[in-house]
């Protein structure tokens, strides 16, 4: 029994180790978020007041690079590193959830100055307000889960 338990634990550890590329990519992404200052509450205010091009430049060039590289992947028929066909599932097209959820998200983004990616990147910033903002996001997520069946989608 002990031997079986050890083998199980070993395979679990090995499977968690298999996620290292995601840790690396996440670390890189968090690093870029801080260096580009798109996580800054000040820059979010500046963006929504149309007083700087910086945020638009970051998001716009990210979209263009993402679009070109995804197009190249599809066109060339490249597979994932473990040989699967690459598929991009379609987003839910129903209008009410996009509009209502989108506006609510935007209201919070303008107030708190951070969306979910930046709130993770800012956790080590030393400002306790970041943890409060994250807690609010968790509560909001749970509230959506509870109310989901009663909301228009």
């Amino acid at each position: 029994m002990q031997a079986v338990a050890n083998v199980n634990r070993e395979s679990q550890e090995r499977s968690l180790l298999a996620y290292w590329p995601f840790l690396l990519l996440g670390t890189f992404f968090g690093f870029v978020l801080i260096r580009s200052e798109v996580v800054s509450w000040y820059h979010i205010q500046e963006m929504f007041r149309f007083q700087s091009f910086h945020m638009y430049g970051v998001i716009g060039s990210a979209v263009i690079v993402g679009a070109i590289s995804t197009w190249l992947i599809k066109r060339s028929g490249i597979r994932t590193i473990d040989g699967q066909d690459i598929v991009v599932p379609a987003k839910d097209r129903r209008l009410p959830h996009l509009v209502l959820g989108g506006v609510i998200f935007g209201l919070g983004w303008g107030l708190g100055g951070a969306c979910p990616g930046p709130v993770y990147a800012l956790m080590g910033s030393g400002f306790p307000g970041v943890l409060v903002l994250f807690l609010g996001m968790l509560v909001g997520t749970f509230a959506y889960g509870v109310l989901q069946s009663r909301l228009p989608h």
Partner: protein, 187 residues
Amino acid sequence: MEFLSSSWPWYVAGPLIGLMVPALLLVGNKLFGISSTLRDVWAIATNRVSYLQYDWRKQTWNLVFAAGVILGGIIAGYLLRNPDPLVLNPKTVEALGQMGVAAPAGLLPPEIFSMQSVLNIKGLLYLLVAGFLVGFGARWAGGCTSGHAITGLATLQLPSLIAVVCFFVGGLISANFIVPVIVPLLR
């Protein structure tokens, strides 16, 4: 080395962020999108709501990715902290000054994010409500800035364009009409 701790222009940062989309597709057919990890965190803790009844283990990659974002934030924001003050349009500095928010030193305004502000009930509620709207709205809309604005637009999906326009409508309203009224009250 100085490059590693200074502010990066948009044309360096944007393309690097955009590369997250093909990188995650190539590594494991994964779609770049952060806000779903908020749901995964709940799904680990409880399955009492039907929204949380799914196998969160299949999302382990995204939780590991989020852990990486925290780590990258610590490396860039703490170990390689930018010593220079944040550069902001003087017009924005002036407008924020009228709300009682001083010119920036670091990434975040201490007037809103410091311990002193959080220990004040008004400051605490401000951030909780802001976070609540982000979490609730992102899950209702089915994505946030990464999932809709970057992945969705990069894969030319119309629903994401609609969502992003609505993100901006909400942000324009709060930054121009709500923040100038509420933030002065936080002092």
